[in-house]
Amino acid sequence: MVYVKWVFWGIFWTVVIGFLHYTLPQHDIVRITDTYEKRVNPGSNALFWSNADTGEDPTATERDVFFIQTFRTNEKPMIYRNEDTGWGWPPYFKFNTSNLQAQASDLMSKKSAETAQWVAIRHYGWRNEFFSIYPNAVRVWAVDGPEVRIIPWFNIVVLALLAALAWAVRVRWRRFWRGRSEGSRDEWSEGKL
């Protein structure tokens, strides 16, 4: 039975951490080398594409998606997609895809450039070559250099609030069941009447 318990909690924590890691924003310092749009036909990886309803027909099976092609500070490539999340999940409420693409194009900087333009890119999601999935870029802005460090205040606050919520639920849950097991304690059982 103890293995069942381990497996249960193992799966539980994998799902929770995976979900948060996918959904919460992260920052990369990159050099944008190109921006383009490409026809995509999401299949079994459709879960990792947003296809939000922001005016267009979300039932169309083929559509064009913006991409931002970059190199990270370790000179490894990273490709971001640039899609609206609209009113759906995850709740970034991103509607400015085209504007973001314009900003990204404006910040391009190739390897041969005399002084490289480094850019911070906020994104959520995962890059996985086997499933053809890409993180979704949310915001880009120019930074001074590749050593810039961005403190994830938003994630700190969200994770602290989540932990507080989980703790509050846990404490009440335990108190509830302890109250049950000890039986009722009122003026009748305490002999005050």
Binding site: A52, D53, F93
Partner: protein
């Protein structure tokens, strides 16, 4: 705009459930406190009248009105996120 309707409708249902839950919980804790108070102060007068008076005070209290934050906070958070993501 179907997505917006879906968010608004399900959001409203969820927040209303939370509102009703919190307001039930808050009222119940206040009532329990009044019951304990009545005993602690030496059982003055009629128990129901004592509790009823306390509950009437609760109905007019700031604490009860603060439960409206259940609606106000998420809507404000969404408005701030929309601004921060798209217009900054």
């Amino acid at each position: 705009m179907l997505a917006l309707m879906r968010l608004v409708i399900f959001g409203l249902i969820l927040l209303t459930a939370v509102y009703l839950g919190v307001s039930w919980y808050s009222r119940r804790s206040r009532r329990r406190k009044m019951e304990a108070d009545w005993e602690a102060t030496g059982r003055p007068g009629d128990r129901d009248a004592y509790i009823g008076e306390g509950m009437a005070q609760y109905e007019a209290s700031l604490r009860r009105r603060l439960i409206w934050l259940v609606y106000i906070v998420p809507v404000s958070v969404i408005a701030v996120i929309i601004f921060m993501t798209n217009f900054r």
